[in-house]
Point group: C2
Chain length 332, copies 2
């Protein structure tokens, strides 16, 4: 590896339409110094939040120029001095702030996250954002009883599909709202108990679906009318957790149910969770998620994999509706 | 008291406009049996929630016919056998479900609440709803530091005025939004740190008012645009607590701040708090509030007092805007 002097990256020097502003660029690659790792990247997904970061519309902004991508996995190929806890061959997630759409990087070990060795490289590349978002929303708000119902919109999204599978594995039941009838049977096969195309009358069916055991947890990535549907579906003490706003419409809350049904409306942002929780909690969660991956109770479908040189095509694919899986970059 | 066979009540046999449906009616009064108290009423307020109950627009409905009023105070004038903890002369709040707009009632002691003897009858009559609502909202959501800012709309309401006074006594600072300039100096004298007529640009002033220490607690009794103003005024981790919806407009929430600023939106209903917390917590709160009353750190202004026979006029007065105090019924 000593001969490697530069590495290819997909970077941007200005915010804007990602297909336009992303460009391939070489970056200097130094040998790992004390406390550093040399990591050769394997896979990185193209997530909606990555696209928003490039656009400049995300909750945090990158200092420019920046390399795209926040999530991904690489393998340690060399270590500097005084590195403990990491060895050549380990699967690691490099820090998102450095950008993951790249072939390699030299990085302080302290900024990396070691990923469970039981995972395939593709699974590990998608462990950081979507499955933990689903996991945390299912664990950190309402304490669900065995067999209890929850409801979500955007059920065909990557997080939505993780919610279905994790809930099934942990014995909770899901009502899954989607926009297109053609995904219903696929999500049912994935383990969704109820999968239904959302209409303005959807909330009237909740009682029938659940036998009157109204959900106390609703997961919202859409906003607008769909958030209203979730809100109207909640039983007493219910919580609506918002982690996305695809419709770009605000959520409207009626005052009465908020007060008399004791509802709560909260936001969830995985980035903040990582920033405010110790590594031991993160690793505990990874261990639980890795178990589900290894037993195939949790799968993340990949729509298509592109080499880094085709990053613009990959982004264009990720921007398309009607996908049924992730877009991955193969960085090897 | 043995000669008292009936008692005058203000009751309703159908929901509707309270001025129309409320009527004076005699009710049989029995001597207190085992475990019962005979209570002669002293004062009862006409609260907005009482009016909503009569209208049939409140979160709970009374079985009809019903006596109006939920709050108020009486004095024990006789006790049945096997009563412990109560003696003739005690100030008590009878159960709201029996209605407080009445001259007397015979009631199980177990359904009554003994009120601090240090209070005047007028203070005791208004201890149950507004001061506890303010107290709980200031204590149960955000843990406020000394000198920390909070913001509220409807600052000139009875709860709003309690919030100002309790916050001042406990060393928290308040931004108070009102609709009318003529109440500003009065609320400043009451202890409001900032009192301002709300405009669409109010949220832009928060930084100046607080020196950049944005409030983490917002109390909303209005909804609609005013709730939006409060929401935009909140700092990271802030909570918007809704306890009323005077504008009858829904609250609109932008998705971004909900997620990235970690905001929460909750409802608060004093009735539920009473139903879900032990008497010891209630009495602890009353003791704290009684201290504030006795030291004049907390006062509830009374606009006017009416005898029970003028209950319709009292209700009409309570329905008027531009009041600056409570409407009380004198039941003696």
């Amino acid at each position: 590896m000593a001969a490697m002097q530069t590495t290819l990256t997909a970077r941007y020097t200005a915010n804007g339409n990602p297909v336009a502003v992303i460009e391939l660029a070489e970056e200097q690659l130094t040998a790992p110094a004390d406390g550093q790792l040399l990591v050769k990247m394997l896979f990185a997904p193209v997530n909606p939040s990555d696209i928003n970061m490039v656009e400049g519309t995300y909750g945090v902004k990158a200092a420019l120029p920046a390399v795209g991508g926040n999530e991904g996995v690489g393998r340690v190929v060399a270590t500097g001095g005084n590195v403990s806890g990491y060895a050549v061959g380990d699967l690691v997630k490099p820090p998102g702030a450095r950008g993951t759409w790249r072939q390699a990087l030299t990085v302080p070990a302290a900024e990396c996250v070691k990923l469970p060795a039981s995972l395939t490289a593709e699974q590990a590349a998608m462990l950081y954002v979507n499955p933990p978002t689903a996991w945390r929303m299912l664990h950190d708000f309402v304490t669900l009883a065995d067999g209890e119902w929850l409801i979500q919109n955007a059920a065909n999204s990557a997080v939505g599909r993780c919610v279905i599978q994790i809930a099934r594995a942990l014995d909770w039941r899901t009502i899954n709202l989607v926009r297109r009838a053609d995904v219903v049977s696929e999500l049912e096969q994935l383990g969704g108990d109820i999968v239904s195309v959302e209409t303005p009358d959807t909330f009237k069916q909740i009682k029938t679906w659940t036998g009157g055991n109204f959900p106390r947890l609703a997961l919202n990535a859409v906003g607008g009318d769909s958030a209203g549907t979730l809100s109207k579906s909640l039983g007493a003490g219910g919580q609506l957790i918002t982690y996305g706003g695809m419709s770009k419409q605000p959520i409207k809350l009626a005052t009465g149910p908020l007060i008399f049904k004791d509802l709560s409306y909260r936001g969830f942002w995985m980035t903040r969770w990582y920033a405010t929780h110790p590594a031991v909690e993160r690793d505990e969660m990874y261990a639980q998620l890795a178990k589900l991956f290894v037993t195939s109770q949790l799968k993340i479908a990949v729509e298509k994999t592109y080499p880094l040189t085709e990053v613009k095509t990959a982004i264009a694919s990720a921007l398309q509706e009607n996908r049924s899986g992730k877009i991955l970059l193969d960085l090897r």
